[in-house]
Subunit: 346 residues, 2 copies
Amino acid sequence: MRAAIFNGKGDVSLGERPDPRIQEPTDAVVRVVRGCVCGSDLWYYRGVNDHAVGSIGHEYVGVVEEVGADVSDVAVGDLVIAPFTYNDGTCPACANGFESNCTHGGAFGDGASDGGQGERVRSPYADATLVAVPGTDFSDAQLASFTALSDVMCTGYHAAVSAGVTEGDTVAVVGDGAVGLSAVLGARLLGASRIIAMSRHEPRQAVAREFGATDIVAERDQEGIEAVLELTDGVGVDAALECVGTDSAISTCVGVVRAGGMIGAVGVPLYEQFTYQQIFGKNVGIKGGVAPARHYIPELLEKVLDGSIDPGRLFDLTVDLDDVAEAYAAMDERRAIKSLLRVSQP
Amino acid sequence: MRAAIFNGKGDVSLGERPDPRIQEPTDAVVRVVRGCVCGSDLWYYRGVNDHAVGSIGHEYVGVVEEVGADVSDVAVGDLVIAPFTYNDGTCPACANGFESNCTHGGAFGDGASDGGQGERVRSPYADATLVAVPGTDFSDAQLASFTALSDVMCTGYHAAVSAGVTEGDTVAVVGDGAVGLSAVLGARLLGASRIIAMSRHEPRQAVAREFGATDIVAERDQEGIEAVLELTDGVGVDAALECVGTDSAISTCVGVVRAGGMIGAVGVPLYEQFTYQQIFGKNVGIKGGVAPARHYIPELLEKVLDGSIDPGRLFDLTVDLDDVAEAYAAMDERRAIKSLLRVSQP
């Protein structure tokens, strides 16, 4: 089959991979309909961290082509959304709603398992991992939104959930990448009445406003903190959502959150300066981590299907699988917020 | 008036201080009935941190003797509980239930304001700060429990509240000082069904059991972590309550908490090794800080008055104000968990 192959820093191309087969009775083989490129895919693309040469991509939506003997909840022909991590559905972490910490889980496209940027994927624990989409005849916009549920939308939502955002809250979102924009939408879903998006880029500001941002702060760091405090009468926000992972982003969150508030942090933390002492005195908490996408997909899928959210709006570039190199380059060069890969039709 | 005076490292004695007077129309002057010694009082006693020479102690219960012209919620003759920090009751932090972060607040006995280990205290913002106890003819045991609400019980409760402890949770409490024991009781109040107290000291283990601990783990650090994991089938606890402030205590919490769980941290953090990266991967959060005692006193007072909790049980030494030096020495030498000071009768 054809699949995106990582050849080394800055080099992704379309190549060949063996067709996946059922290996365990709990497996399914999924024909990929849509895949996409994650901000975290850029890390190995840019040489920030290592990645095995080979199959890549952890976000995909597809049609089930074959199932193992023990699979009963998804069937051949189902359109399914895959969370970016697979999980067994039975371990204590899964039972607690943290499927991304599953004892027997793993990530797609991590070098060991098939990636989502290819024609087919073997999905372990298909019943527990995949979410079937009810209905047929989906529009391209719906398919894009389903694909956004594979990771980015759930990750942004996780920031808002982890911060305990609730009805009437004032929220600041630090980071205007696809995760930050998803966090804006996540905060809106949880009932935030005021959402301050910190963004310097006009196209992203526009998406943030569409997603529910009520205010935009273009300044960064200390100036950005002062602008948010000014917007909130000097009080600060109930929740600050950290969607970047840098010291600048977390210190902005620390600066804007009110006494007793929460920081929801989903940017993989590269912090070198941040300490708990910085938030203890203000009674501020921090929670986040690798999003349990599988936990959130069903509720968010309902919202996509009833038209109340449109996270597929994040994709501002759509290319065929053939052009996967361009999908990476456009995001790397910041010409695109997020690239969607058209692999096949449902 | 007579009052405990800090003279320098290891030296607390009974001395003389000017009688407090009403300075602001929102002040009250309170005649102290009971005071006590806090674990944090030992820091300056031991020379760990600086403290002004003079009046000390931030926990007290007393009878209102005089009120300013603007005081209406407490009246002369009322028995009142003072939280260890005073607050104006009107700022946004107060409105959000974080009175310990009040814009105009401060702490009793901090060198600038009267301490609770003396015969009288001027209380700023008396209406917002003091909580009147309904009824009369209180027993010594009740007076001790009221005094525990001034700080220690609220601080332990804050650990459990900050960690979001809820019905049916499994909780581990790290630290068997008075705050840790209060956290055991706090977790029980919030409905935890299993409470693992980490304690090596038999008298403290006994109090922990009285307060609701279902299991005791005497081991520390890695051995303690393994013991807690063994008790929880390898899963870990829903919430770990950090009631010490050391690297050993926080790393124990990190080790015992389950994926997606919470750490409630109220030990003033002296962490040098702890980083957020250590909990991000497990989707664990941390929240805590300086307890908003004023926020918790009314609900906890109800529980004391109806007999369902008895936090005064923490005091295992009671001395008259004359013997305040012994109250400190006994705690410093670990002969007492917590010392109660008998200053006057209601």
